[in-house]
Amino acid sequence: MISFFLWIGMSLGLLVLVCLYRAIQGPTIMDRIVSVSVIGTKTTVILLLIGFIYDRADMFIDISMGYAILNFIGTLAISKFFFSRKSIIPGSKHLKQGEASK
């Protein structure tokens, strides 16, 4: 069962690396934010798997819970920052809904 958890953790790590491509290469800032949020959700599961592999699940579960809450708060904070803007590009002119920029 430990080796099964190890394989699952390795495959999730591989998926995190694939998600990191979108975080680096994303065309807009919002793509990068989404990618970081997805990586945070995978990290929550990976932390719990590490806890079960080391047989210390009661300790790692609190770290995982804190990571999940911080991921949610961070995404909400960034989206709140972008609510007050009119365009993604800083310093650009006021643009109407739907006719804007990449």
Partner: protein, 112 residues
């Protein structure tokens, strides 16, 4: 191998499958909004299934106070992700819509 371990293995494999589909959607979709609908659903269900599988596996060692407490905490994380992840997805999509990110259309691609 007991029956609880087999059930937890099935749950975790299903969760990894949904994580995989969410990642494929994040890489392959053409637009920001399409990527949001791929990741917002697949990631939430994948995390929920993985955490439920781990909670069921933890109950395999007998019903003592420690294992029930750890399983309850894991289920709390699962329910929190099930509520918080769609909320974050909705907020970030609304922020992108307010920042006037242009939606992808097939027609525009033909004209160019």
């Amino acid at each position: 191998m007991s029956i609880l371990e087999i059930i937890s293995i099935l749950f975790i494999l299903g969760g990894v499958f949904f994580f995989f589909t969410a990642t494929v959607g994040l890489i392959r979709m053409p637009d920001y909004y399409c990527r949001m609908q791929a990741t917002g659903k697949g990631d939430t269900l994948g995390a929920f299934l993985c955490l439920m599988g781990l909670a069921i596996y933890n109950l395999d060692g007998g019903l003592s106070f420690g294992t029930v407490l750890v399983s309850t905490k894991i289920m709390f994380i699962a329910i929190f992700i099930f509520i918080a992840n769609p909320t974050a997805t909705h907020a970030i999509t609304k922020a992108g819509f307010d920042c006037s990110v242009k939606p992808w259309t097939k027609k525009k691609e033909v004209q160019q």
